[in-house]
Symmetry: C2
């Protein structure tokens, strides 16, 4: 490492140590105290709207000059109304049940030992994310509610916004008698700060990357801190021979077009040969009408109604998470072929079958290996809010610790508490 | 990477792919099939005792010539009786409840979606471990029961034993109509094979290192595959002012001397000033009688009865997991001081307080951050068998996924299964 990197690492490790120290005060805090703090953070954000909007304007001006697209600029932009909405989300988190203290398992052992497995905070949660400044508030709120300190590494594009938000939140913590270091950022150290955060094993308990595939891959491969991989969703829908085709049309359109830039949007449609000649023309027409660019296999191209363009699908198309109004479409002879295709290209996020056949439904849900497997429903339902988790820190596509939408529980661990009466092992 | 390492990596990745393929047959297998296979593996081990003992004798002869200690040679040695005991452990695993298919959470959402979070196998479990050949069988048995394929990397010292055991187990799988590749080893590729296993992200779902601190640190820092860190236990007992000193003496002796080479053995004893003059002479005498080498602070040295040697404890002593008849002893003025000392030196495995004071018990269990926190019981109880988990794949000292003794559940993940009636998101 270069000298400058060594210095950054020492400073970031000190940040992590302060976070661990601050988290101690929260580990045993009652829910009422944490909920009051969340309300205070929400109040402070609203009261400081002007200051935050001014800082945000600097980010917007710089990024616009640098050529950021209007779509991304819109995701970056903050207004008093948006800040109020972000603050409301904090109040929603305050209203959620506190996972800390839940007894996951409890029993009395034959030797009289009383055993409890109790949910406790992780300690220090690291968050590495891209442009959207609302993630700054969401992450801080969810960490606080679950009794953790948070260390943030936001994107350079939102640097001024995040700096202002973190300043406001820290001040509000202090006003509540809580340590400011429950919410810290390593943004002042730029990219080397993020790298140091990934190396802070033993000081940071878990690191959650949120953003594009590149960011997530970097964190997953570079981090010494345990990581929860999130995000990439190359989601499939398989329309089985027995599917209700009217419902199937609605579901496919919803999954592909309701919101295109999200990880639970549809990216590949597989259609059973048995209904392909009936279903494909209808669905291709509806998709084209909605402005979706179509990539298809030979069968699909042949089935396209006059005037509808279907580009020949390449192997890349099957593997791509478009995050755009674009869809790959293929025809399969059997359920086995559909499962095999999904097995080859799935990112393990969300896979769906549309069918009226019980055996097909059972086989698909049992054999497809993904965080969420849906029957007769849009892939867009894979979401913490929709699943009733109340809040979402991300969607895990790994199998360790958490899989699928992650609520507050994912930011906790457990501790075994054992009460004896002088017991020794024989 | 060198050309030879590239070749090894390609071969080990092919092993992992075969494991993933084999695991598919098990993912949806009923418990009865897996349990019958476990019984068949046990039968095969007993029937092949002679062949395994012959292979083991080669390991023993080589390691004895290389100067391995008699203690370690004893842990490496297999006899027909030991093989029968190892086979019995497989039958015990067969008798455990199958975690696969458990519904962790189930609810019907307001929109009619029926949501279930179901326990499913991880897929491919990697195990990197040192000399004891019984781990080969334990790991294979626990992986099979939980529906996973296992890839083993054993220690060079047990190479012939492990090779013979794996050969016997694979043959028994085939005789049961199951794929041999449910149990594979990368030992033929030696150390580069182990390294390749750590790089098989996406092919291996979790890697569990079991062995000394050096092995575990290597895996934790080198692996791209998600790791569950196990093992290091720098365990403390704090004898509070209000403790029953007769029970305390029994517990300390049990925790330190019942078995010294294990991760839940006592390594540091902290004694409240209030009872130190009464308790220390008794416990020091008993420990010295039991052949325990004593390291103590000034107070402890001064309190030692005539003829009992207490070496001056260094900072290293407080940090060391002796895994030997050796103990560090210190005196603290308050519960806070005890918690502070533990906070500084704990490896997060097992910490205990001996007390009759409710507030002290509550504070200790709430504030000490470890996998297991015990009151009035020996640290030796932190164990999957003792906790009633039925079997143990290791003791996790990390917070992600599993913490403390890990049973079959730790080798599973969950899948969200969602059944709709044509639902779309609005």
């Amino acid at each position: 490492m270069r000298d400058s990197d060594v210095r950054v690492e020492a400073e970031v490790f000190a940040v992590a140590r302060r976070g661990k120290e601050a988290a101690r005060t929260l580990a045993t805090a009652p829910s009422s105290l944490k909920d009051a703090a969340l309300q205070a953070l929400a109040d402070a954000l609203v009261a400081s709207s002007e200051e935050i909007v001014v800082a945000n304007a600097q980010d917007i001006a710089r990024e616009r000059a640098a050529g950021m697209s209007e779509g991304l600029l819109d995701r970056l932009a903050l207004s008093p109304e948006r800040i109020t909405a972000i603050a409301e989300a904090l109040r929603d988190v305050a209203a959620l049940p506190d996972p800390v203290g839940d007894v996951v398992l409890g029993r009395t052992l034959p030797n009289g030992l009383v055993l409890r497995q109790v949910r406790v905070p992780m300690g220090v949660v690291g968050m590495i994310y891209e442009a959207r400044p609302n993630v700054t508030v969401d992450a801080a709120g969810l960490a606080l509610k679950s009794g953790n300190a948070v260390i943030l590494r936001g994107g350079a594009a939102a640097a001024c916004s995040n700096e202002a938000i973190v300043r406001v939140l820290r001040k509000a913590l202090v006003a509540q008698g809580l340590p400011a270091d429950l919410i810290q950022t390593v943004d002042p150290w730029g990219r080397p700060g993020g790298i140091a955060l990934m190396r802070a094993r033993g000081l940071v308990d878990v690191l959650i990357p949120r953003g594009g595939a590149g960011l997530i891959q970097t964190v997953v491969t570079e981090s010494l801190v345990p990581v929860i991989e999130t995000g990439v969703g190359n989601c499939h829908i398989y329309v089985d021979a027995s599917a209700d085709l009217n419902k199937a049309l609605d579901i496919v359109m919803n999954a592909k077009t309701q919101r295109v830039g999200v990880c639970n949007a549809l990216e590949t449609l597989l259609v059973s040969t048995a209904i392909a000649e009936d279903f494909l023309p209808r669905v291709l027409l509806a998709l084209a009408d909605a402005g979706v660019t179509l990539h298809g296999d030979q069968f699909t191209q042949d089935a396209a109604p006059a005037g509808i363009t279907v580009i020949s699908a390449t192997d890349d198309d099957w593997a791509t998470e478009y995050l755009a109004p674009e869809l790959a479409i293929g025809v399969v002879d059997t359920l086995d072929e559909a499962i095999e295709h999904i097995r080859q290209y799935s990112s393990g996020h969300t896979e769906a079958i549309l069918t009226s056949d019980l055996a097909a439904s059972e086989r698909f849900t049992a054999e497809v290996d993904a965080a969420a497997v849906l029957v007769n429903a849009s892939t867009r339902f894979t979401d913490g809010g929709e699943f009733g988790l109340g809040a979402e820190i991300g969607i895990s596509t790994q199998k360790l610790h958490a899989r699928g939408p992650m609520g507050l529980d994912a930011l906790t661990t457990t501790k075994w508490v054992v009460i004896g009466q002088g017991n020794v092992r024989t």
